[in-house]
């Protein structure tokens, strides 16, 4: 697939502090790339440099094969962003904001595009409301409408669904996937919601202390961990069960009425088979493959050898 974004050795310092340390990555046409990391890792700083609102100390950024610093205006016609960290002018009405923003871009039919976005993001009843009076979720929907106003080829989304309820968040995810399918939209997507990232992203990169430490598909990363969680209801005090686990090294965690056991994926059939052979009565068995959440935030040692919080 053709690369629509290429970041090469991007470096940014604030005084002595290195915020982004020679970061290199690319985004392919039609790809949704998860850009993950803990708070302060350098995600937002990188995105600001990609938008041209922060000057890199060194390194290069190119979109659609063109150098960003040389073709800023031309490229920004095809790029847009949404972030929880920015606001549209509070004193304006929703319709005012969409109207003036539509003129920042070359659009064939501004009125039609604004009407489409009002429909998609369910902003119809909010058009005459001041932005200051919108709830966090409504402001997020407006920010997303703003982000799609120029029908971008490349979208940078910084925690776009952070303030949304599950239903609206799903609508937004579905819309992004539809835009990718129908118009080849490419997306750089940051989120702390790992379930969302697994659902939507083709690939993820992980930034830690300003450096990219991982670049892989969510599936491969989870497989590397080779961890499954078995949850079931049973009598843990029963003699057969006690006999089964004694000396096996199995660690049990109680979650309400259930017990949860972490083990390698390959060990799960053998464990279930042992329960059956020992005639242990159990119910509600579920097996969950480890996801990104476990990978990034629970079980992966960081560079210092400590576990991540």
């Amino acid at each position: 697939m053709e690369k629509v974004l290429n970041v090469d050795s991007l470096f940014k310092t604030f005084g002595d502090f290195v915020a982004v340390d020679k970061v290199s990555f690319s985004l392919k046409n039609g790809e949704i790339l998860g850009f993950l990391g803990q708070n302060g890792a350098g995600k937002t700083t990188t995105i600001q440099m990609l938008l041209g609102v922060l000057t890199p100390t060194s390194g290069s950024i190119s979109f659609l094969g063109k150098d960003f610093s040389q073709h800023r205006s031309e490229l920004l016609e095809k790029i847009n962003f949404s972030s929880t960290y920015t606001n549209l002018p509070f004193g304006l009405k929703v319709k005012d904001a969409l109207h003036f923003i539509s003129y920042l871009y070359k659009l064939p039919d501004r009125k039609k595009r604004v009407a489409e976005l009002v429909e998609i993001f369910n902003l119809g009843r909010l058009l005459d409301q001041r932005i200051a009076s919108l709830s966090a979720g409504e402001q997020t929907r407006l920010n997303l409408a703003k982000a799609f106003i120029n029908s971008p080829s490349i979208l940078l989304l910084d925690e776009p669904t952070a303030s949304l309820d599950p239903e609206n968040a799903q609508t937004i995810r579905d819309f992004i996937i539809k835009e990718r399918r129908e118009h080849g939209l490419s997306v750089l997507f940051t989120s702390h919601n790992m379930t969302e990232v697994e659902e939507i992203c083709d690939r993820v990169i992980f930034i830690q202390s300003g450096r990219i430490t991982l670049d892989d598909t969510p599936y491969n990363l989870a497989r590397k961990l080779d961890l499954s969680t078995v949850r079931l209801l049973l009598d843990t005090d029963s003699a057969p069960f006690q006999q089964l686990i004694s000396g096996s090294g199995i660690q049990i965690e109680r979650i309400g009425p259930e017990i949860s056991i972490k083990m390698k994926e390959s060990e799960v059939p053998q464990f279930v088979n042992s329960l059956v052979n020992a005639k242990i009565d159990f119910h509600g068995l579920t097996v969950t493959r480890a996801g990104l959440e476990e990978y990034f935030f629970k079980d992966r040692p960081d560079n210092s050898g400590k576990k991540n919080a």
Binding site: F14, N87, Y103
Partner: protein, 260 residues
């Protein structure tokens, strides 16, 4: 390019019509200024049994002063609004350039100035029967030269805001008043102490207000003074433009998200 400049005009147009604060700028302050100074002028004329004619020059001075005051204030407050709203990123992550943004802001500013001048003229006519337009076509170069100085100061304050953010925001309202005495809005140059007269020679607006009084007394405009005023304006505009450019560059190095 034109669509982006128009976007900025629209952005500030909406900010004005949705804000009572902004709308009062058109009526409330001109009314208060004109009423206070006009009545003071009328009192001086009555007290001197008509020996001192100051009402017209005071009222005319106030209306023209708006060309400096409003352009500087509106330009600086326009930038401040973007900082208060954290809207800089939305604007500058679009294809617009800083020059287009500044031009859009200046054009909107100019439209607003015309509206404000018309409103102040109407108030002056209603309150004192003073016809501002009796000055004739010379009003246009007077207002243009005054607006140029207002823009120089506005652009300079905008540069300061990009460097120091809202920590120095009060300058947006106050900086203009440092120049008011040396602009000779209400009195001729000779009234100032000697050192003040020297300072006023370097303030472009002083030449316009001196010429305004001269025209009101039936004299001809001395064009050399207005050309000198234009030259000074161009120097100040150049300096403030360079300062703004370097400040914006510094702001981009810090990140626009951190400017608020």
């Amino acid at each position: 390019m034109l669509n982006r400049i128009y976007a900025i005009i629209l952005r500030y147009h909406y900010a004005t019509i949705r804000s009572w604060d902004r709308l009062t700028d058109f009526i409330y302050w001109p009314f208060i200024d004109l009423a206070l100074w006009g009545i003071t002028g009328a009192y001086i004329e009555v007290s001197s049994n008509g020996g001192i004619q100051v009402l017209d020059s005071l009222v005319c001075g106030i209306i023209l002063w708006y060309s400096v005051y409003r352009t500087q204030g509106d330009l600086s407050i326009g930038i401040l609004e973007e900082l208060w709203n954290k809207n800089l990123i939305n604007i500058f992550s679009s294809p617009i350039s800083i020059s287009e943004y500044r031009l859009g802001l200046l054009l909107y500013n100019f439209l607003k100035l015309i509206m404000a001048t018309l409103m102040a003229s109407l108030i002056a006519y209603i309150l004192f029967g003073f016809n501002f337009f009796k000055l004739g076509w010379i009003i246009a170069p007077f207002m243009g030269l005054l607006a140029l100085f207002g823009w120089s100061l506005g652009i300079f304050v905008a540069g300061l805001l990009f460097r120091f953010s809202t920590k120095i925001q009060s300058l947006a309202w106050t900086i203009i008043w440092i120049f008011a005495p040396f602009s000779l809005v209400y009195f001729p140059r000779e009234i100032l102490p000697y050192w003040g007269q020297i300072v006023s020679l370097f303030i472009p607006t002083s030449y316009v207000f001196e010429e305004m009084r001269s025209v009101l007394h039936g004299n001809q405009v001395i064009w050399n003074n207005l050309i000198l005023c234009l030259e000074l304006n161009l120097v100040y505009l150049g300096i403030s433009g360079l300062f703004f450019k370097s400040s914006f560059k510094a702001a981009l190095n810090r990140g626009l998200v951190k400017i608020y």
